[in-house]
């Protein structure tokens, strides 16, 4: 297995409160990993540590060959290799959908305008948003905004994509259209880590499921652990969810 993410014994506190208490896991190239768990179990924090939005107190994380605890870490190339999509979309409201997607292509990848908008059009078509390229975010539904946000991340051609509860703000119908996009990404071979509450989606798409509980990986395995949990906590968690 070609490892893309290696998290080893990571600890992190917010002020005095420990949030991660020795988290370890690995993600191989092309894998889809679903991180599940109760609110406050540390799953979003773990995800945010992987692209260095949060720093860690101890342990080590290696992502796409970048050692995150290294002082000489080149944040800019890390951010190019790792894309992230947020629960609240976070599109730039003063730019059209196409400009949102093209911005980093022009500023970070230094592509000329024509090439940037060609790439933007291509990824927008990929997420079914070609006809909304000229719209502003506030003119779109939540599902459309989230698909545009996925396109914005995708345009940078990351090696790894992180999804932080991307459907939690959406109603079931809109959730469906976003999950569809994510499923096709997964089928296309994209390495993905998703923090999610969509158990049936996790069961369908994930190669690896990580159940986090009180700042630790409490149970991990393939998607079958969702049907046959080994620990009482996961059994209770899955039972409450379905």
């Amino acid at each position: 297995m070609n490892t893309i993410v290696k998290v080893e014994n990571v600890h992190k506190c917010f002020d005095q409160t420990p949030v991660l208490k020795g988290v370890s896991f690995e993600v191989g190239k092309g894998q889809v990993v679903a991180v599940i768990g109760k609110s406050g179990s540390g799953k979003s924090t773990a995800l945010r540590c992987i692209n260095r939005l949060e720093s860690i107190d101890s342990g080590s994380i290696t992502v796409c060959g970048h050692r995150l605890h290294d002082d000489r870490l080149d944040l800019k190339t890390l951010r190019r290799d790792v894309g992230i999509v947020f629960q609240s979309y976070n599109l730039f409201p003063h730019l059209t959908v196409e400009q949102n997607v093209a911005l980093a292509l022009k500023l970070v990848r230094r592509l000329p305008r024509a090439q940037a908008s060609a790439i933007a059009d291509r990824v927008l078509a990929q997420v079914g948003m070609a006809d909304k390229a000229r719209s502003y975010p506030e003119q779109l539904s939540g599902g459309q905004q989230q698909r545009a946000a996925i396109a914005r991340s995708l345009a940078m051609e990351p090696q790894l994509m992180l999804f932080d509860e991307v459907t939690s703000a959406l109603d079931p119908e809109l959730t469906g259209e976003v999950l569809q996009v994510m499923e096709s990404l997964a089928r296309g071979g994209m390495t993905m880590i998703l923090v999610t509450h969509e158990m049936s989606f996790a069961a369908k798409v994930a190669n690896q499921v990580i159940y986090m509980h009180e700042g630790k990986v409490h149970e991990a395995g393939d998607a079958s652990i969702l049907r046959a949990p080994q620990t009482q906590e996961l059994r209770r968690f899955v039972g409450s969810g379905l």
Partner: protein
């Protein structure tokens, strides 16, 4: 008791004063805008001493009457051996005064852009300067426009204080006309009308911008 009457020449002289009021306002706004932008950026700097210095600057300047700033610029620069024209001293005082208020207004607007916007820009690999210029400032500008235009009204009215250092703007021009004619009510009424004519459109504009901000972009596109 004047032996001359209020004729077109005097009226023209006051209009000329009003033009200098506009000119001084523009200078104060440009100078204050540049300084104010720096103050606003310093106010949200990651470095504590920089933030602290900017905050002290705002408090000190806001705590000094503009009249005193006028005297300080006029006589202070004069003491240092410069022969300061009244316009330069007045423009300098107006700039410093405006920068403390604009800096504070704009700081609030920069901070009103959600934290998540910074984060999203950071995750796309934008440098700190690119995040500020391409993501935060455009959004903050939209928020800042109504209050900035509103503050322009204050600038216009406060240029009247430049009369104390001998700069011939509308008030000073009116005083000189009155000294000749001794028709205080007529002269000061005309002065009031001229100030109102300059400030009222700015106020209306500020309200209109605020309404547009509230109703959002959708209506602007439809309009």
């Amino acid at each position: 008791m004047g032996n001359a009457s209020f004729n077109l020449a005097y009226f023209g002289y006051m209009l000329q004063g009003a033009a200098w009021t506009v000119g001084l306002s523009a200078l104060g706004f440009i100078g204050g805008g540049i300084l104010g932008a720096l103050v606003a950026l310093a106010r949200i700097s990651r470095r504590t001493p920089v933030r602290w210095a900017a905050s002290l600057y705002i408090q000190v300047i806001q705590g000094i009457p503009l009249l005193v700033l006028m005297f300080l610029c006029y006589f202070g620069l004069g003491l240092m051996g410069y022969d300061v024209p009244a316009l330069a001293a007045a423009a300098c005082a107006m700039s410093v005064y405006a920068s403390a208020y604009l800096g504070d207004i704009w700081r609030g607007c920069l901070q009103a852009v959600p934290r998540a916007q910074w984060e999203a820009a950071e995750c796309l690999g934008l440098s700190p300067a690119q995040r500020m210029l391409c993501v935060i400032v455009p959004q903050a500008l939209r928020l800042a426009t109504p209050s900035t235009v509103g503050f322009l009204v204050q600038i216009v009215k406060n240029t009247s204080l430049a009369s104390v250092v001998g700069f011939v703007e509308l008030v000073r021009a009116g005083q000189m006309v009155n000294n000749t004619l001794f028709e205080p009510f007529a002269v000061f009424s005309l002065m009031a009308v001229l100030y109102f004519a300059m400030c009222y459109p700015l106020s209306r504009w500020s309200y209109a911008l605020e309404r547009r901000l509230k109703t959002g972009r959708r209506t602007r596109l439809a309009a």
